[in-house]
Symmetry: C2
Subunit: 282 residues, 2 copies
Amino acid sequence: MTSTNRKVIVVTGASRGIGLAYVRHIVFLSKLDFQFDIVMTASKEQPLMAEFDKLLNEINENGLNHRLLPIVADLSENVIESCRKIKEKIIETFESKIDTVLFNAAVLTPLKKVSNMSDDDYKELEKLFSVNLLSVIKLANELIPMMNIIDGKFFFMSSGAALKGMSACTGYCVSKAGLNMFCQTLALENPHLFSLAISPGPVETRMQQFIRNYGHTEMSANDYNYCIMLHQDGKLNNTELLAAKFINACCLLAPREWNGEYLHIKDEKAINLINQYEKKFC
Amino acid sequence: MTSTNRKVIVVTGASRGIGLAYVRHIVFLSKLDFQFDIVMTASKEQPLMAEFDKLLNEINENGLNHRLLPIVADLSENVIESCRKIKEKIIETFESKIDTVLFNAAVLTPLKKVSNMSDDDYKELEKLFSVNLLSVIKLANELIPMMNIIDGKFFFMSSGAALKGMSACTGYCVSKAGLNMFCQTLALENPHLFSLAISPGPVETRMQQFIRNYGHTEMSANDYNYCIMLHQDGKLNNTELLAAKFINACCLLAPREWNGEYLHIKDEKAINLINQYEKKFC
């Protein structure tokens, strides 16, 4: 294994959901001839370290040569300090440039109509913008100089909610619409890198569970019933499948001319990419 | 004059530019059979009070019956306190419900590539998001209960930059993309009100001057030269004309089915609306 076969990957919000599924996918997808150095960030220490320990055991049991770096960093406040900490720990630990960053960390709450927001809900909204948007800009700012200059890639976990608003989810929808635009400006400013905002469609994560449990009091009947229907009719994507088939397909196969765009998993371009990926790498 | 002919209008960022032009337009457009109670907010006391005094003199000289309420409120920090202050002053001063709010206050800076942002630039970016986005959500939250339930209208000053990103203007572009989405979710949650995000196209304001003066070091040659060309070729809209022909046309004539949409001054729908407005009210 030569050193050029090592890839440095950064995943925010890596302790569960799509972030964790993506890490597990790239670690255990044996058909890729890479050794990964994976930076996993999360806001809470306990779940991150639990997943880190589990992954490390599996990596050792399988005789693999991947390395993991867990970093606890709360992106909802002290954004400058948190992002700098992430950068510094990467520099201390891994010797190569970064190949891929998956900006995945995000929060949904407050799940409230604008007219019903209390001051506490508004403060929660400020934190939502820190996690979903401002820390993404700051972390990109810190990591751009560390990116692989030939093949550095930024992926932004977007949502269908970036285009089509949903009642009681103002902060989430607004932040995802903003994230798509950030991908666009970042691509304009950094044509040597590759930036793509990707929407996995509705996925069975804690967010969807939260909406089903608590959405009925604030959401419109229309929006709430749609989320219930997605679950009842089995239309929520499985996280592992998603990570395997979509994010990595984008990472390995998305053409440079998509730089700055937004891609939904059900777009024809995405479906073709996933088909190619399955033939080559699954 | 009956009391139903009084209209309460709130304009943020009313001490200059488009906000001030809109106030001047509705005050001195004699063909409208309304008396206006106009709330003018701005971050700095001196320019706001100077414009307030000037307007008040002109109103008195012309024997008009409009009332003005200037409120100094910095929306870049202490957002909860600033928005609550605006609400409380309106309640103290005017007896009727609010008819129209023009969310116009916005900042452009930091004018920096993401990769070049210092910590101070990032702090400026946080303030940009407070002014352009978070305070808009909080002020809407405070004012919804005070809106005229039959005919209350929210207008959001958007920009072409909400759809097409511009280098070195990440914060501005991202906030305007977010603002369009906020208009959408607000409309979903409040179908009894009317919300519209409007883009006046490139306007000769301090923002464009600032870009021409300081943009060359950070913007791409392409984006910078476009702004220079707009100015040299006389393609920047005049603020007064804009306020007269577009914002008020939307306020008086936009149909309810546009609730939640984004409208650019050069869209065919906008051009038709402005034509109708000119025939009826100019």
